[in-house]
């Protein structure tokens, strides 16, 4: 009986030791700068990739939406081709895509590794995803409002610019938070091939060097980033949505 409790206690202490460890000064003295750099790298990769992914994905999503058979610029063939490209892009697992396009990545940014090397596959992987998110947001815009704009003599470009995008803004913003968080998760995967960031730290220190406290902290930091992004975007979306008053 005494043995049992002894073992239990030792087991618990062992399990908790990484938790206890991260509250020590030595831990932060040793790993603090590394973690700070990792968090910054993750954020930089996420933000830059999101911006470029939207530069590709937003127009692609708009095109997908307006070229539908019942859209404002119906183009059956173009819609099919775009839909197919987007589906192919979305069905490739990120890690495969990253490896597969390495030569292309080097051509674009001059390196296959590091933050710069990660951004190219991140953008290419996220853009089709974003295109579908945008398409869904635009589909939520009341068809009657679009019809009213057509009745007033609005051109397709004006309908996109003055009806679809402003009316879908709250939904686009929420879609934006989902896209950013997805890209954030991809950056962790990119870490596996030396892209830097929190994912890189989790793998190199937490897994390969068996430092559970590092694994724990990187996970906590990623959770905090995700929560923070979601909270800010949900707040902004509710704030600008004039349907909620």
């Amino acid at each position: 009986m005494a043995d049992f409790f002894n073992n239990l206690l030792t087991g618990l202490l062992n399990a908790l030791s990484p938790v206890i460890e991260i509250f020590t000064v030595e831990f932060w003295h040793q790993y603090g700068p590394l973690l700070a750099q990792g968090a910054i790298d993750t954020l930089i990769m996420t933000i830059i990739s999101t911006v470029f992914a939207y530069l590709l994905g937003l127009p692609l999503g708009i095109l997908l939406s307006v070229t539908q058979p019942h859209g404002i610029l119906p183009r059956r063939g173009l819609n099919r081709v775009l839909g197919w490209i987007v589906n192919v892009g979305r069905s490739l697992p990120f890690i495969i895509l990253m490896v597969a396009i390495m030569d292309f990545t080097k051509l674009i940014v001059g390196t296959k590794i590091g933050i710069r090397g990660a951004i190219v596959p991140l953008v290419i992987s996220a853009a089709p995803f974003i295109a579908r998110m945008v398409e869904t947001s635009l589909a939520e815009v009341d068809a009657g409002v679009v019809e009213a704009a057509q009745a007033m003599g609005a051109s397709p470009f004006q309908i996109i610019w003055k009806v679809y995008l402003p009316e879908a803004r709250p939904s686009l913003l929420l879609g934006g938070s989902i896209s950013i968080i997805t890209i954030l998760a991809y950056t962790a995967i990119a870490g596996a091939v030396g892209a830097g960031g929190l994912g890189d730290l989790a793998i190199r220190y937490g897994y390969q060097r068996r430092i559970p406290s590092m694994l724990l902290v990187t996970v906590i930091l990623i959770i905090l980033l995700v929560q923070g992004i979601q909270t800010v975007f949900s707040f902004l979306s509710a704030r600008i949505d004039k349907r909620l008053k």
């Binding site: 009341d142 009745a151 003599g153 003055k162 402003p166 009316e167 349907r243 008053k245």
Partner: protein
Amino acid sequence: MSMIELEHLTKTFAGGVTALDDVTLSVEAGEIFGIIGLSGAGKSTLVRCINLLEQPTSGVVRVNGAELTGLSQKELRKVRQSIGMIFQGFNLLFQRTALDNVCFPLELAGMSRSEARQKARPFLKLVGLEDKEWAYPVQLSGGQKQRVAIARTLVTDPKVILCDEATSALDPTTTQSILALLKELNETLGVTVVVITHEMTVVEQICDRVAIISDSHIVEQGAVADVFHHPQTPAARQLITPRGAISEKSKIHGPLYRITFDGNTSDQPIVSGMVLASGAPVNIWYADTKDIDGNAHGQMLLELPQNPQQAEKMLAFLKEHHVTYEREEAAYYG
């Protein structure tokens, strides 16, 4: 002068459904023209063919002299700016204030936001919403939203306003006020109004002429009073007196008459007068009357006595009091 001319308009949808079949009609400048029909009759398609939101399969559409069916997309957009349209669902931009909704067509025409606001303000005032400039659609009632939509059509100085079931989502009181506003705008601005509806009361209240659409065809058209007093077709009768007024099991023995009130017999008790004049009772099968500005409007479906002399006395009484009547067949209402 004709403001709108539709010639042999046919619309067949991709699935093979024919929504309009050889529709020809013309709307005079400055009148309020009603197009009435039951759900699925094709009236929504018809109104969308006037501004070519629906491209007719064949036929010609002319608005204010311009043949819309022959225009390029760009030219068509230009013409559409002079054809206003209001909808059952109002179709305001949710993310814009009332004032900025009115600004919208001006911005489409290339005006800056601040210039547009200056021009839009008086129109919001015209529809009685000057204190709602900064309200968003979600903060407005149905009637207020429709007023914003009306102001939005007026701001580009349209020749024509198309109303697609514009009062169908509104309660009776609000419906009255919106119809009154449309009538007023028609009278003060001279704008031609086309009203699509399934409600005879709407036509009765504001229209000068009416066309009845049934199964993709225009089956009857003419002055509202004529169509209302002497409907020629089953479709017209059905719209004027709704189905279900008389059921199949009803036993009707005497002759059935429909009498219509159109404002000249308000303060006289007509039905009681008929009874007293003939000394026999009448049976009221259906009645829908109301008082508009002290005048009676509406109709009744009456079964007169089987005795021809008594019935004759009643009809004489009606004639004497200028009440229009018409013999009916019960089968129309079954």
